[in-house]
Symmetry: C2
Subunit: 229 residues, 2 copies
């Protein structure tokens, strides 16, 4: 109902989402065929699931901070699904009831760190988890998105278009992902599911600017700077 929607919108408005809300970020890897292939990976038979810490959120006008000496850091533009209420073992046909709305997000990835971890069978958490490695937009109420399975996601580095995909290319769709993930982890209000990135990932260097958007919905921009310590 309307009262509840207003309450939800208020709660997720502005910086509140990233400072006060959400216990976890659940990210899906290799959820677009062309992206799986571009990194030389098999197309998965089940979702590849990993966690990012909420301490990695950053919002405009703050920059993406690149730690010195960690090698290439890649952009991955993704649609984030914001969970509106607690749930576990959620059925696919009920899943959309658990969605409060969306965010545009970047799943920044220390690609060299990740490649080394993969080779040694080690966790991805460091490669994916540095502070500022999850830039996000303001909260987008779900009423504003007609069809989350047909959104154009795009990303530029400076003036160069790098990623230009559509959520209709996702291997595992949002209701399936919510159901699948909720069978592993209880989902809580404010948790975010990052649904994977289309092809075209590549490095972002200090001094460059990343601009990205969901066509007709939202746009955001982040400068890349070297991390101080």
């Amino acid at each position: 109902d309307c009262t509840k929607d207003l309450r939800t919108m208020k709660k997720f408005a502005g910086n509140k989402l990233v400072t006060s809300f959400g216990k976890k970020i659940i990210a899906i890897g290799r959820n677009y065929v062309e992206h799986a292939k571009e990194l030389g990976n098999e197309v998965p038979k089940a979702p590849v699931v990993f966690l990012k810490p909420t301490s990695s959120y950053v919002k405009e006008p703050n920059p993406i901070e690149i730690p010195a000496g960690i090698g290439e850091v890649h952009h991955e533009v993704e649609l984030g699904v914001v969970i509106g209420k607690e749930g576990k073992n959620i059925q696919e046909d009920q899943a959309m009831d658990y969605v409060a709305g969306y965010v545009l997000a970047l799943d920044m990835t220390g690609r060299d760190l990740q490649a080394a971890a993969k080779k040694k069978g080690l966790p991805w958490s460091v490669a994916k988890g540095y502070d500022t490695f999850t830039p996000v937009s303001d909260f987008i109420n779900k009423a504003k998105i007609q069809d989350p399975n047909n959104l154009n996601l795009w990303l530029k580095v400076d003036d160069e278009m790098r990623q230009d995909g559509n959520t209709n290319q996702m291997i595992f769709k949002i209701p399936f992902l919510i159901s699948h993930v909720s069978n592993i982890f209880t989902l809580q209000e404010g948790d975010v599911i990052l649904t994977g990135t289309p092809s075209g990932v590549g490095p972002v260097h200090v001094g460059q600017t990343v601009t990205c958007g969901i066509k007709d919905v939202v746009e955001m921009k982040f400068a890349a700077v070297e991390r101080g310590s």
Copy 2:
């Protein structure tokens, strides 16, 4: 000061720690030489760092829930360090100022899932992250622990002693871990660092009971049941 200590104790008392506090669990792998060896792993040159979701916390008298069909689930008894205030790039010699106290914890691990993930270079998050895969004790104020680097950690499955180690065997000590981890992720009040497990890990089956403790400090007990769905 004393007022602050009281406030901290109150905030972390009882279930509040696990229901309201903490955004992340940062776990350290292979931090005891004998345990690294028993799983056929090299002794690490840097800490192995991964994330567990706070939705995996469980407290007495609730049971550990083992999902059907995921293979062996292992016990790993660990000392958890509870962070008392926000910090990043923390110096080793300041690190203990960021500690509010401790918890006894189990880092329950889907060992077969983890082995399969390691082989494929995939994340550990699912193997480590199921609901109830992080049993924890009540909060232990740091004033109650004379020397966190000399605590006897033990664990029994039913009547069989399986793990019997001492935190003095940790490869990377608590101040180093806090400093290292805070260079990756901003640490926040209520975050918990799991410091790794001594040798003796092994399977827990449905119907068995896990009892574990920090000698002279705390003891806890969890039944293992099959997870309903």
